[in-house]
């Protein structure tokens, strides 16, 4: 099969390339990429998650495979390794692979042709390609979004994060491959993370309605602020595997919505903590 089939022939494949992006740093992109890729794979979809944050490397730590990294994204682009030498199969779920970022190279190492070739190859046998974008609106972030079919725009309910998300949505609509080729635009999904109903109630945070109104983009989910996220990532476990965690459950809902199910929002209202919740954490 022609490696460049996917982007050049106009033929559609079943693969969905989804970029997880935000503009602002530290809002939960990598947490989200890890959770959704694991959730999709566990739901039976062959999935690969790519770390575009060249020079930092976070994803492999959250996925607990840092010690198994031999070759990386940049090695493949530069022809030092074949793609399947660099892909790391997840130990917990065999439908999930990780393509780690290089810690040593600089960001300029990613070329558009190189990224395209890798996405082509991955498209041949994966249903989902999740691209974990670096923060900002520079080269790395633009590279992560360029070939995407869909985007998950991760936003914290505060003014600066919302502003950056707005900016990113503008770029998705104008600077992507789809935009440049006049194809149907990238489908964007708004994901509000670190949502804390108590702080919203006190007026310290924007409400979901505020965020939706400002960004005018369809909401795919709300992930509550939860200590379990940090705990999970320290243990190298995508939080979606923590079934007792509200954040984990909210990510399960997002996976369901991504695959076409309708689910009501959870954990968005202020609720009294029950005795059990207090004992086992939320």
């Amino acid at each position: 099969m022609d490696r460049f089939n996917r982007f050049n022939s106009g033929e559609t494949t079943l693969t969905r390339i989804i970029v997880v992006t935000s503009g602002k740093g530290g809002v939960g992109k990598t947490t989200t990429s890890a959770a959704l890729s694991m959730g999709l794979a566990r739901a039976g979809h062959k999935t690969v998650v790519i770390d575009f944050d060249i020079g930092l490397r976070n994803l492999d730590i959250i996925m607990d495979c840092e010690r198994r990294v031999v070759f990386d994204f940049v090695n493949v682009i530069q022809g030092d390794a074949r793609l399947n030498q660099a892909l790391i199969r997840d130990k917990r779920c065999e439908l999930l692979s990780i393509l780690p970022a290089s810690q040593t190279r600089d960001k300029e190492a990613l070329t558009r042709e190189g990224v395209q070739a890798i996405l082509e190859e991955l498209s041949q046998d994966h249903e989902y390609i999740i691209c974990d974008s670096p923060a900002g609106i520079e080269g790395g972030a633009m590279m992560a979004m360029y070939f995407a079919d869909e985007a998950i725009v991760v936003t914290n309910p505060e003014v600066s994060s919302v502003r950056d998300s707005d900016r990113i949505i503008g770029l998705l609509q104008s600077k992507s491959r789809r935009a440049e080729n006049n194809e149907p635009p990238i489908r964007e999904h708004l994901l509000v993370t670190r949502y804390d109903p108590e702080r919203v109630g006190r007026g310290d945070m924007l409400s979901i309605e505020d965020v939706e109104e400002i960004l005018a983009s369809p909401l795919i989910g709300v992930i509550p602020e939860s200590e379990s996220v940090l705990r999970a990532s320290n243990q190298g476990i995508p939080v979606i595997l923590d079934e007792d965690s509200r954040a984990g459950q909210a990510y399960v809902d997002v996976v369901a919505r991504l695959t076409g199910e309708e689910r009501p929002l959870r954990f968005t209202e202020l609720e009294r903590k029950g005795i059990l919740q207090r004992m086992f954490g939320g």
């Binding site: 502003r163 900016r167 949505i169 005018a216």
Partner: protein, 234 residues
């Protein structure tokens, strides 16, 4: 560009933030093309980031006419990713040359310039010119300029976004960013919006900042009257 060691004494280009959100790039009267080009290189090396992709107006103060190297200069600016969109000039011949380059002419401001020259141009003078219609939300960091026409935005204008028109501006969603109508001096231009929460509104160079705007208003009209911006609405 290589710095040339045999150049005459260096000149500097005047650069100011103007009232509207564009830069004003001034070329001193004694500068010839090579001198202006070298000065441009210096300027870009110092502050290329904030200049590139920013709309700018060119000014050649204290000259009897625009220099004959204007077309090359405009071309060079574009190559450097600057976005010249207007040139300050008064004479009919100069204005025609500017128009031939696809640029707008702008009146040369008087020293204490605050209000536009009389003769309004743009849409009010060109009935029948179709407006520029934008259907999507104008997002933070984006700029839209309707040259010689009105602008209609069917969605909202985000905080951090900017819409400009030589004619009127209509925003059917919320105006949270900046809106500048009549940017080439048309004092008859107006702004209408569903909901006013703007960072700046301006008509023909006269502007108001958020603290001068009324607390959130619905269905607003903004126009110039006796050199004052009038805001009416509900």
């Amino acid at each position: 560009m290589q710095p040339d060691t045999e150049t005459p004494s260096p000149i500097t280009l005047g650069l100011k933030g103007s009232m509207t959100a564009h830069a004003l790039l001034q070329v001193p009267a004694d500068a010839d093309e090579p001198a202006a080009t070298r000065a441009l290189a210096t300027l870009l090396a110092e502050d290329g980031e904030s200049l590139r992709h920013t709309p700018c107006i060119l000014a050649f103060p204290e000259r009897t006419e625009l220099p004959d190297w204007l077309p090359d200069w405009v071309e060079r600016l574009r190559q450097e990713q600057l976005v010249p969109f207007a040139v300050q000039c008064e004479q009919a011949a100069d204005r025609a040359r500017v128009h031939a380059l696809g640029l707008a002419d702008m009146p040369v401001p008087e020293p204490s310039f605050r209000k536009p020259r009389a003769a309004p141009r743009a849409s009010a003078e060109q009935p029948g010119q179709a407006p520029l219609v934008i259907r999507q939300q104008v997002r933070s960091g984006q700029q839209v300029y309707a040259r010689n026409q009105d602008l209609v935005v069917l969605a909202s204008v985000s905080a951090g976004a900017e819409v400009m028109a030589d004619g009127h501006i209509h925003v059917y969603g919320e105006l949270r960013g900046r809106a500048l109508a009549g940017v080439s001096g048309n004092a008859a231009a107006r702004i209408w919006c569903q909901s006013l929460q703007a960072e700046l509104v301006a008509v023909a160079g006269l502007y108001l900042l958020p603290e001068q705007l009324p607390e959130q208003r619905q269905r607003v009209e903004i126009h110039l009257q006796d050199d004052q911006l009038q805001i009416s609405g509900q």
